[in-house]
């Protein structure tokens, strides 16, 4: 039953740092910051103004259009400002800032239990939309939109993505260990929307306890099975997950629904369950605070909008005798490095990885000429030839990059950069190329340095 993707790599996992750290609740102390653009699509529109008093679960920004998501307050307090703040994307973005009163007074409807049998499919999707749920594995696609494919009857698989292939991160592992039954309940809710779908829970074999817990929870459930995959990065990527379950490889331009799939991360499924069954909007999530620079690697349940610095402190702070060199939102493969930790946890922030040593700097020093060894092509999960793509980018031949080498099919998983013995920044080049091509398509200049720095 052990299966795995084509290509891929085995980066050091380092999951041992936090995989057995039981989830702890951390309640935010300082102000909470809610960037309006935490998702794919148009930024949310604020529905509160400075001076308003808000409660936990109260909507503070509404979705702007179909592909967008609303934002609900995760604390109670006074709206301090609606202004530009630094976010974890490394740039300044419009944010709602709420002065936390520390009471966490809940809105009247928050936590009201509802039986699914009383809800229509439209009502379920409406509750998911109103909860502001987006893909919590990092992609950030509005979940309600994802759950409304053209033909729900054509969906054959609802996949709960518990692969968690990114090194260091253990929050999904812990969720599956501690909330297995709730996750299966969430899966059943989603499966209700798709009459012909079976439920698949995909887990990598480096998480035996999660496999055991989910298998037990899924036992006796109709049309639900647990699929175990041999551990390999980037197996948790949406396209990889689909190819593992169905054997179909989808193009970048194709949605999972075109392969008859709905793929949701474990945390997203749980958020769906909380929203539908208990009217709880997405206000909390589990975040793994880990890395060799942090004292007590932890899995923290925190309120969205909490300042990352508070999380570091909650995990014991930086280890003595160690200098923090790099801080990442997410894991080391696809995570985003931040220059300043004073940025908020967002809906899609699954981990805070604090590294005492920046390997990327060493790589820059050790870079040699490409020896055309072809390892990049062998590890590419998409079947691309990064060596040729990089060569095209280096001579600014974006035409060839896109047309001849299918460069836009790159999912920027970083496998090629990881494996390259010459330490060439391949993925980084592809990010530049993608930005250039997108900018050209949109006929506007590239936002300077956004992708690169």
């Amino acid at each position: 039953m052990s299966r795995t993707i084509k290509g891929g790599i085995h980066p050091p996992e380092h999951k041992e740092l936090s995989e057995n750290a039981s989830p702890r609740v951390y309640e935010a102390e300082g102000e909470l910051i809610y960037p309006l653009s935490q998702h794919i699509g148009r930024p949310a529109k604020p529905v509160v103004k400075k001076g308003d008093h808000v409660l936990v679960g109260q909507k503070i920004a509404d979705a702007d259009g179909f592909v967008s998501a609303c934002i609900c307050s995760s604390c109670s307090g006074i709206v301090k400002a609606v202004e530009k703040r630094r976010t974890n994307a490394g740039t300044y973005g419009e944010c709602i800032v709420i002065d936390n009163d520390g009471q966490f007074t809940e809105a009247p409807d928050y936590g009201r239990e509802v039986s699914c049998d009383d809800l229509t499919n439209e009502e379920i999707i409406g509750k998911i939309r109103d909860a502001g749920i987006i893909g919590m594995g990092g992609a950030g696609f509005p979940t309600a939109v994802k759950l409304m494919p053209k033909d729900p009857g054509a969906i054959r698989h609802v996949i709960v993505n518990g692969a968690e292939c990114e090194p260091y991160i253990t929050c999904d592992d812990q969720l599956m260990r501690t909330r297995a039954a709730d996750i299966v309940e969430g899966l059943q809710i989603v499966m209700r929307l798709f009459p012909h779908a079976e439920g698949v829970i995909l887990i990598e074999d480096n998480k035996p306890e999660a496999i055991a817990a989910m298998t037990a929870a899924a036992a006796g459930q109709e049309h639900v099975r647990v699929v175990v995959a041999r551990t390999k990065y980037p197996q948790g990527g949406e396209k990889s997950v689909i190819s593992l379950v169905t054997g179909i490889y989808t193009k970048v331009s194709e949605l999972p629904a075109e392969a008859g799939c709905i793929v949701d991360n474990v945390a997203t499924i749980l958020a769906i369950r909380n929203a539908v069954r208990f009217s709880k909007p997405l206000v909390r999530r589990m975040v793994t605070v880990t890395g060799d620079a942090v004292k007590t690697p932890s899995n923290l349940i925190v309120r969205i909008g909490t300042n990352a610095e508070e999380l570091v402190a909650a995990a014991g702070g930086i280890r003595e005798g160690v200098t923090l060199e790099k801080a990442l939102f997410g894991g080391p493969m696809m995570g985003v490095a931040v220059a300043d930790l004073s940025v908020p946890i967002q809906k899609g922030s699954n981990a805070l990885t604090l590294l005492a040593h920046d390997e990327a700097m060493d790589a820059q020093r050790e870079m040699t000429a490409c020896i055309r060894c072809g390892r990049c092509a062998r590890v590419c999960p998409m079947g691309l030839v990064p060596e040729m793509m990089a060569e095209a980018v280096e001579r600014k031949d974006y035409e060839s990059y896109e047309k001849k080498f299918y460069g836009l099919e790159c999912i920027q998983c970083g496998s090629c950069t990881f494996i390259c013995p010459a330490k060439r920044p391949l993925t980084q080049l592809f990010k530049i190329a993608k930005a250039e091509i997108m900018a050209k398509a949109a006929k506007k200049p590239v936002p300077s340095g956004k992708e690169d720095k």
Partner: protein, 522 residues
Amino acid sequence: MTEEKVLHVSSGPHVRSRLKTGSVMLGVIISLMPATIAGIWNFGPSALYTVLASVAVAVLTEYLFDRIAHKENTVKDGSAVVTGILLALVLPSGTPLYIPVIGAVFAILVVKCFFGGLGKNFMNPALAARCFLLISFGTQMTRYEVDGVSGATPLATLAAGGNESLLNMFLGRTNGVIGCSILGLLIGGIFLWAMGGITWQIPVSVLASFTLFIALFGGYGFSPVRLLQQICGGGIVMAAFFMATDPVTSPVTGRGQLIYGCLVGILSGLFRVYGSSADSVSYAVIISNLFTPLIDLMPAPKPYAYRKRQAAKEAGQKKPSRFPKPALILCAITLIAGLLLSTVYGMTKAQIALKQEEEKTASYREVLPDAEKFSAGSDLKSAVSALDGKTYGTSFGKVTIDGAVEGKDSSGSAVGYVIAVTSGDGFNGDISLSVGILKDGTVNGISFTTLNETAGMGMKAEEPTFKDQFAGKNVDAFVLNKQGGSTEDNQIDSISGASITSGAVVNAVNAAVDFYRNQIAK
């Protein structure tokens, strides 16, 4: 975070594998060790010195070039060591040490550094250097010695109709280059493959296409022993695992590697069967290297998502061939070319022989115009064959008597003899000539059948002023007069500036006269 600290910010991924260019090279070096050690074991310390000289000079050359060109020191990536070892492994063991030194300088400086260093060379540096050495130092590069005794390589022995123990070839206990132990190469090559240093495509396609070509055109059919001898000799295994697989000069994609591998194999076979050079594989690899950019121009492999789509469309019709079409086409073209070549060779072979025979007769006529027919009686034949093609006499230099015929006029009475001699002492190789001798021992004339001397100098031997000096003289032996202005019958004026050529010719004529007087006339 309160203290002022700058966090590193860079685009992901933020971790790297431990694999470095240096470790890739180290993998190659380790996998070359079995063959290197086998070479030193078989050939003794001289092989070790060759390896050491080659490696040291390769590294030093790269270091000095980087210094002089103000480039970053690239020695630490280890690629110069790899080139050094590879070069040594394709050199004969007993060569003077200046051979690996010159070769290593050429490989690193000319082939690699001049074209931009690591990753930029368009030919395999070690093999390019070997070809350069073969052309420039042909003698040293083809003198194979084991324990001070020189001999032919297994392939040369086989080509001459001899036989060679397959086991000795497999173990590398034959005359050959240092890295001729097939066992050592296989151990290293399979290790390299297992470590991910090379892919299976190139070794498999090189060996398969080469074997197929030899089986079809090698003249021995599918005889397993003959095929194995061809595979174990002449460096095809070395090329399959270590030379053709050099990532810099081979295609990146698996499909490209298959095409390239077939090209290497077929060209090796072509040169082996129909070529005249001492080496076939080296040339095949470096020529194939030149095709690499072209092969890489082929459409890139489609991403999985696109391949699936195509397969789905074609489902139910027919399964797309797993073997790439361009490879099939290329193989077909090469096979056809090989066939054509062999047919043309077969057709022209007889004509060439006829032509050569005519030329010979013409030269006989030239030196013995009175004769009508030329024939060799059994006594003449046995006199020549008694010499066994060995150097004739002791005072004529490297002269051999190639043949002798008796010339008779139209009435059937003997006029004289024509003796064909070759001197190996020419300035530019062999000089062959026919010497016409009348029955009384008078030299009637000489005519050259092979003369490749320097134009304007040694080539003047063909001019009447030189070669007519021999005609009509009846002497025991001619003497070369370097001063000129000869008065005596036995004196021959040297061609000015070409005393080596002149001496060789005089010696050759003297040998012919001696042969006539002592063996034919008796």
